[in-house]
């Protein structure tokens, strides 16, 4: 019998079975999350299965956020926000409000999620939590609504597709470029039903905010989860960031002889900055292939690349410079604490001096609802995760995806620009912990 993958071990533990890929298990959920779009439907399911006096399986491990349409951009959104507030208050759950930030940023920063946890979120980017060694996965409203009542949910234990990366990333090349390349190589459905696992010396040396990028976009290749084995880096990051005590003995890593569906190997030194062309994340090419493409809008933010380190990379490039004429830049911090760091460290001033518009923390225009949607014919370069037709507005607009550094360099010239043509920085996990003035 071969060893087990991280996914097999974690789901074995949570289900009290000896689970292998392909098995169906009912597992205990550690944390459940929904937001202003998916929450109301899940509440209906919860009320239906529990009757009028339902109780949450664990109010202290249930989190609701208001991030997608925040602040409310219409009456329907405002009503949904009220539904979230009322349900959270009635049942004693944690609730984050307008301006607090995106669910996936908040749950990590505020310490709701830790290594070894099983996390379900009524949002497809719940794979993000894999970056700190939690099994995070996106579920539907019926799934979430019933799990809120029972604390359990059924899972098919996934096979694992492993991505092994060795070597140092070059200047101007980041985790975003790695994941766009992975998606380009295996395709939009190349990891369907499976967990992605990222490993190798490059991944081990990545700071946590970069690992979270890889995990976040596992869903863009169909992945059920995007996992990185938690290590000392994870432990020290979370302890510093959240004040929680982390015990890696409660977490899981794959055995050396675990059985993978396939292993894809990469040499990080050979990777160029990547850009995904419209209208699918799998259309990833070297930046040199699309350099010179004129853009109308630049968007920095989202649960993929809206962290402080991401925005600081853009600010470093734009310091003392002015954004090209006829180009607009929208910056949306992923969380309130990112927003406050930007204020405290001067990043906010640098960006506004360069001509950027900075919005309150949340999802921004990523899903095409508000705060900078695109018109007919508009071309946007975004640090986001999806570029489907009409994703950020008009069906006649188009979205390219890249790293923050590529967006920052492109802002200087008003066209897609190779970030290796400018000076780019790279941040470790301690920059977010800078002492505020």
């Amino acid at each position: 019998m071969t060893g087990k993958t991280l996914a097999e071990k974690l789901l074995s533990e949570k289900s009290g079975t000896d689970a292998r890929a392909g098995d169906y298990v009912e597992a205990d959920v550690d944390v459940a999350m929904a937001h202003d779009i998916t929450g109301p439907l899940a509440f209906q399911t919860f009320d239906e299965v529990t009757g009028d006096d339902g109780e949450l399986f664990a109010p202290d491990r249930t989190v609701f956020t208001i991030d997608h349409h925040a602040p409310a951009d219409g009456v329907q959104a405002a009503n949904n926000h009220n539904a979230v507030r009322e349900f959270a208050a009635e049942h004693g759950a944690h609730q984050f409000d307008v301006g607090d930030g995106i669910c996936h940023a908040v749950l990590v920063e505020e310490g709701f999620v830790g290594p070894g946890d099983l996390v379900i979120g009524a949002d497809s980017h719940s794979t993000t939590y894999g970056g700190i060694g939690a099994f995070g996965t996106g579920v539907g409203s019926t799934d979430l609504g019933t799990a809120l009542a029972t604390g359990e949910l059924w899972f098919r234990v996934p096979k694992t597709l492993r991505f092994e990366v060795d070597g140092d990333l070059g200047d101007g090349v980041y985790a975003k470029d790695l994941i766009l390349r992975f998606i380009g190589d295996v395709g939009f459905d190349g990891c369907t039903y499976m967990a992605a696992e990222y490993a190798g010396s490059t991944i081990e040396s990545l700071p946590i905010h970069e690992r979270l990028v890889l995990s976040n976009m596992a869903i863009e290749m169909g992945g059920k989860a995007g996992l990185v084995a938690p290590d000392e880096r994870t432990e020290s990051y979370l302890e510093r960031q959240t004040g929680n005590e982390i015990d890696l003995a409660d977490a899981f890593v794959s055995d050396d002889d675990a059985d993978y569906e396939a292993v894809h190997s990469y040499d990080a030194t050979a990777l160029a900055p990547q850009v995904s062309k419209p209208s699918n994340p799998e259309n990833a090419v070297d930046v040199t292939e699309v350099a010179g493409t004129e853009v109308d809008q630049l968007f920095v933010g989202t649960c993929t690349n809206g962290r402080y380190e991401d925005i600081k990379i853009v600010a470093d490039i734009l310091a003392g410079e002015t954004i090209a004429p006829n180009v607009r830049m929208v910056v949306v911090p992923a969380s309130k604490s990112v927003y406050q760091h930007m204020l405290g460290t001067g990043v906010f001033q640098t960006l506004t001096d360069a001509g950027a518009v900075i919005q309150s923390a949340g999802c921004g225009p990523c899903a095409g609802y508000h705060q900078g949607v695109l018109g007919d014919g508009d071309v946007c370069l975004a640090t986001a995760n999806r570029n489907f037709p009409g994703r950020e507005g008009s069906m006649e607009s188009s979205v390219y995806l890249s790293s923050p550094a590529t967006v920052g360099a492109s802002a200087l010239y008003g066209e897609i620009t190779d970030p290796r043509e400018v000076e780019t920085k790279r941040y470790d996990d301690t920059v977010f912990a800078e002492v505020l003035p």
């Binding site: 299965v49 996106g138 539907g140 019926t142 799934d143 019933t146 009542a149 029972t150 059920k224």
Partner: protein, 177 residues
């Protein structure tokens, strides 16, 4: 359309009974199953009147309780909206047979009590063929062509979920038990 009353709480059609196959291609996404302009409703019967409306307008008019949807690869890709499988429940579809499914559609269908079967040989079924499905054995039988196709038998746990009408009745029973 007949039989739209067989919603999530009514009796589900029995996939062992033969029915007409409605055949679709690869990569049918949730927008093609339930165009997003109709998802303001979450009523199965209402959603059923718009199922496949842009792709195949005759579907909602002619589908009968006990019919089957047969599709190619990656059926139900795209958003996580439950309106898509719910519209097929409302239409009285007995089961969905496809060469492969997008993960969240597969989950959502099972959770709503709609049997879904992965069948690599499903592309041999022609539109209008009469088929039935043996969920235990994982076999699709084509009466029109006198052929059978092997499918992945629905695991015991998922079968019991489907038999109980999906995740909500299952959870209710668990909470009451």
């Amino acid at each position: 359309m007949t039989g739209a009353a067989d919603g999530a709480d009514g009796g589900r059609p029995d996939p062992a009974e033969p029915g007409r196959a409605w055949v679709f291609g690869d990569n049918i996404d949730t927008d093609q199953i339930t165009p997003s302009r109709f998802i303001v409703s979450s009523d199965p019967d209402e959603l059923a009147t718009h199922a496949f409306e842009d792709l195949r307008p005759d579907f909602s008019e002619s589908v009968e309780t006990g019919d089957f949807v047969v599709a190619g690869e990656n059926f139900g890709s795209g958003s996580s909206r439950e309106h898509s499988p719910l519209s097929l429940v409302g239409a009285g579809v007995s089961a969905v047979v496809a060469q492969s499914f997008a993960r969240i559609f597969f989950r959502n269908a099972i959770n709503l009590g709609l049997p879904v079967l992965i069948c690599p040989g499903a592309d041999a079924v022609e539109d209008g063929d009469e088929i039935h499905v043996d969920l235990d054995a994982g076999v699709v039988t084509n009466h029109t062509r006198d052929e059978t196709y092997e499918a992945e038998a629905l695991p015991q746990f998922l079968q019991s979920l489907v038999e109980q009408g999906g995740l909500k009745p299952y959870t209710k029973a668990k909470l009451d038990g």
